[in-house]
């Protein structure tokens, strides 16, 4: 049996191969100058309407800005073994800079970085580095806070639903900053949290949003990678806050504003450094004033007085005179975590695993 099968397999392969090479003349593409090959790894589709698309827009910006750069991407890459394979494939194909754009890509990226010391790796939103691997992120909590001000002013039911992916510090920080903004202008409002335990699961996110709406939420904030929760809010005639990109087009009558990423600014900076030979691994965490994060234009339903208030705070953040994590800040059970006149340190912000007062929800405990 096995012998027959082997014959069969060889035959199949022969047919397969010959059908390919027949009628397929070798095509030579000539390149005038050696470009730097840059790869991007996305956890969702490149056109997910949110997180991955924001990175893809950064990739296109990079291509358009720097003529000596050539880019490629892989999408829908799971955060397990397949990720390491994809990163490895790129490194092996002569890609010189590889951006991996999801938290769960951190260890796979590190594993490959060890085996390819001549390739530059940049991992988004993590905390592990190597001599040839840096991390990068932006202070999204600043626009988060500003959108919280908008939400606090606009809510009537004082019930705001936040559809959140994983309880990583990134997301906890987002929810905290958002809630600080909400409570600053509306101490009665509460921010309710549902974890979807996925970056990209539109069906689950929609049902989380529906749960909020059924319980009386009149604003839905999204921390996930796509506009699904916003679309539910739009259907219910309620307001929502977009994330990653300006999501107004996904739910035009619902989106108050969005907190958005401009990754291209950082990508250009990295590639210029690589090109000049000055690249060094760093833990980049860009301020809103660098332009890496931004608050999208307001929807038509946001009244002028709210805009004026938020714009004022935005100016203070951009000028560095105000930070959302200025004290006093209390945690959920009312303990004073940051004293008046002090500010939560960057180290604490980067590892934050507690909710501020006004958040309704729990952070799953890590063990051992």
């Amino acid at each position: 049996m096995s012998k027959k099968l082997r014959v069969l397999i060889v035959l199949l392969l022969a047919v397969f191969v010959s059908s390919i090479f027949a009628g397929c003349a070798p095509k030579q593409t000539t390149q005038p100058e050696e470009k730097i090959k840059v790869a991007f790894i996305y956890v969702g589709p490149h056109n997910d309407g949110g997180w991955s698309q924001a990175h893809d827009e950064g990739r296109l910006y990079l291509e358009q800005q720097l003529p000596y750069v050539e880019t490629a991407y892989s999408e829908n890459v799971p955060e397990g073994a397949p990720c390491e394979k994809v990163v490895r494939d790129y490194a092996n194909q002569g890609y010189k800079v590889i951006f991996t754009t999801s938290f769960g890509f951190m260890d796979p990226t590190l594993n490959v970085a060890k085996d390819y010391p001549d390739v530059v790796f940049e991992h988004c939103s993590g905390y592990k580095t190597a001599p040839n691997m840096g991390t990068y992120f932006g202070r999204m909590y600043q626009p988060d806070y500003l959108s919280g001000l908008v939400a606090g002013k606009m809510t009537k039911s004082n019930y705001i639903g936040f559809v959140a992916p994983f309880s990583t510090p990134e997301v906890v920080r987002e929810i905290d900053a958002f809630t600080i903004g909400v409570r600053e202008v509306n101490p009665k409002a509460e921010v309710h949290v549902i974890w979807t335990n996925s970056w990209f699961d539109p069906a689950l996110e929609a049902s989380a949003a529906d749960t909020f709406l059924a319980n009386g939420a009149d604003i839905i904030a999204s921390g996930v990678d796509d506009p699904a929760p916003l679309e539910e809010a739009e259907k219910a005639g309620k307001y929502s806050l977009g994330y990653d990109r300006d999501m107004a087009s996904a739910a035009p009558t619902s989106v108050l504003t969005s907190r958005i990423w401009h990754w291209g600014i950082y990508y250009k900076q990295v590639l210029e450094a690589v090109h000049d030979g000055t690249w060094k691994p760093e833990e980049y965490w860009g301020q809103m004033s660098t332009g890496i994060t931004e608050l999208a234009p307001y929807g038509p339903m946001v009244p002028q007085d709210v805009r004026t208030l938020v714009d004022q705070r935005k100016l203070e953040i951009l000028n560095g005179v105000y930070d959302p994590f200025n004290g006093p800040i209390y945690d959920q059970s009312g303990n004073l975590k940051v004293k008046q006149g002090e500010q939560l340190s960057d180290a604490d912000k980067l590892t934050i695993q507690w909710f501020v007062k006004g958040v309704v929800g729990t952070i799953p405990k890590s063990g051992s």
Binding site: V15, A72, K85, Q93, T351, S368
Partner: protein, 355 residues
């Protein structure tokens, strides 16, 4: 009306003919999808082959993809021989992975690599076996349909894994992300080809294939299994203990799936996390089927399907084909191959009147 008539003996010639035709049909369906993405299908297929076999690197990656398929499929072959449909390799793989991870994560730190890996190997085997005993016993003594019970236990296994990953096995320094601590060096299977990820798991797979072949062809147990597969009634009449054989076969099948989980964690991923199993348990069913339940053929079919997966990742990179197109090509080929099985086993004719 279509009429299906069971073929008695399928000649090798017919087999080759149908397989070639069906692969070509699969390639043509895939080609339509590729054309819709405005890419030359011939170039795409060429890239898949180069992406799977074109260099030492891609060849070793193909072997990495094939390793879990080999381990799981040869185990499935044993139970499929007795017409026991184990759809639960997915769950057995996960439980094996959890069992072996326990020793990698919480075992004594200064234990030797050889000893730790031996313990992890047996833990993986045991985990998979335990998960397989449940449906085997249910089937053997209470006639509970094993297709349903093994399938549903997959979900139970996945939720057990999630329980650990969102609970007390989560690395406190993982910042809330469901990952375990990385495995230390002494919990990692050695690589068998330098500068590649091809690890000892591949050798495990080949040894498993030899053992399963030996069991089926050379032992009384294997003979009994084949008799049970032919007719359970006849087997009982001949005095064969069907229940006992069923349970033993499932223990072996589950153990190998559990070992696949251990080998994948210890040899490739080096940590426990939720996404450790992109459907190997299901792909291995296809492998077992396409290899006509021959363990050695299963090794080659595993490598071919591993190549398809591995090459599929590569064409995303080399040709910037969208992910969906890769999935369409893979599924078109597999679907037609499976569909051709009907042609292989039945003669189909058009007939008037009742079928």
């Amino acid at each position: 009306m279509l009429r299906f008539e069971k073929r008695e003996n399928v000649s090798l010639k017919l087999r080759i003919f149908i397989s070639v035709i069906s692969v070509l049909a699969g390639l043509i369906i895939g080609a339509i999808a590729i054309l819709l993405a405005r890419i030359n299908p011939l170039t795409a297929y060429k890239s898949i082959i180069i992406g799977a076999f074109g260099s030492k690197y891609t060849l070793t990656e193909t072997l990495v993809s094939a390793t879990p398929l080999i381990l799981i499929s040869v185990g499935l072959i044993l139970v499929f021989k007795m017409n026991f449909w184990n759809i639960g390799a997915y769950g057995q793989y996960i439980i094996g992975a959890i069992f072996s991870s326990y020793f990698a994560l919480f075992g004594p730190p200064n234990i030797s690599r050889f000893l730790l890996l031996t313990i992890m190997t047996f833990a993986g085997l045991a985990g998979g076996a335990i998960w397989a005993i449940i449906p085997a016993v249910l089937r053997a003594y209470w006639e509970v349909n094993e297709v349903i019970s093994t399938l549903l236990l997959n979900y139970v296994a996945l939720y057990i894994l999630k329980y650990f990953m969102y609970g007390f096995w989560r690395d406190p320094t993982s910042h809330g992300f469901p990952l375990s601590k990385p495995f230390a060096m002494n919990a990692q299977l050695p690589r068998i080809i330098p500068n590649s990820r091809t690890n000892l798991g591949l050798i495990f797979g080949i040894i498993a294939a030899v053992i399963i072949w030996f069991i089926i062809k050379k032992t009384k147990f294997g003979y009994e299994i084949r008799v049970i597969g032919g007719s359970k009634e006849a087997a009982r009449y001949a005095g064969i203990n069907v229940a006992r054989n069923m349970i033993i076969a499932m223990i072996i099948s589950g153990a190998l799936a559990g070992l696949a989980g251990m080998a994948q964690l210890s040899g490739v991923i080096h940590m426990l996390q939720i996404e450790i199993n992109p459907g190997y348990g299901y792909t291995a069913i296809i492998v077992a089927w396409l290899s006509y339940l021959d363990p050695f053929a299963a090794v080659f079919v595993s490598i071919l399907l591993g190549a398809l997966a591995s090459g599929g990742y590569q064409i995303q990179i080399t040709m910037q084909v969208p992910f969906g197109i890769v999935a369409v090509i893979e599924s078109a080929i597999l679907f037609v191959l499976i569909g051709s099985e009907v042609l292989m086993r039945y003669r189909i004719s058009f007939a008037k009147g009742r079928a």
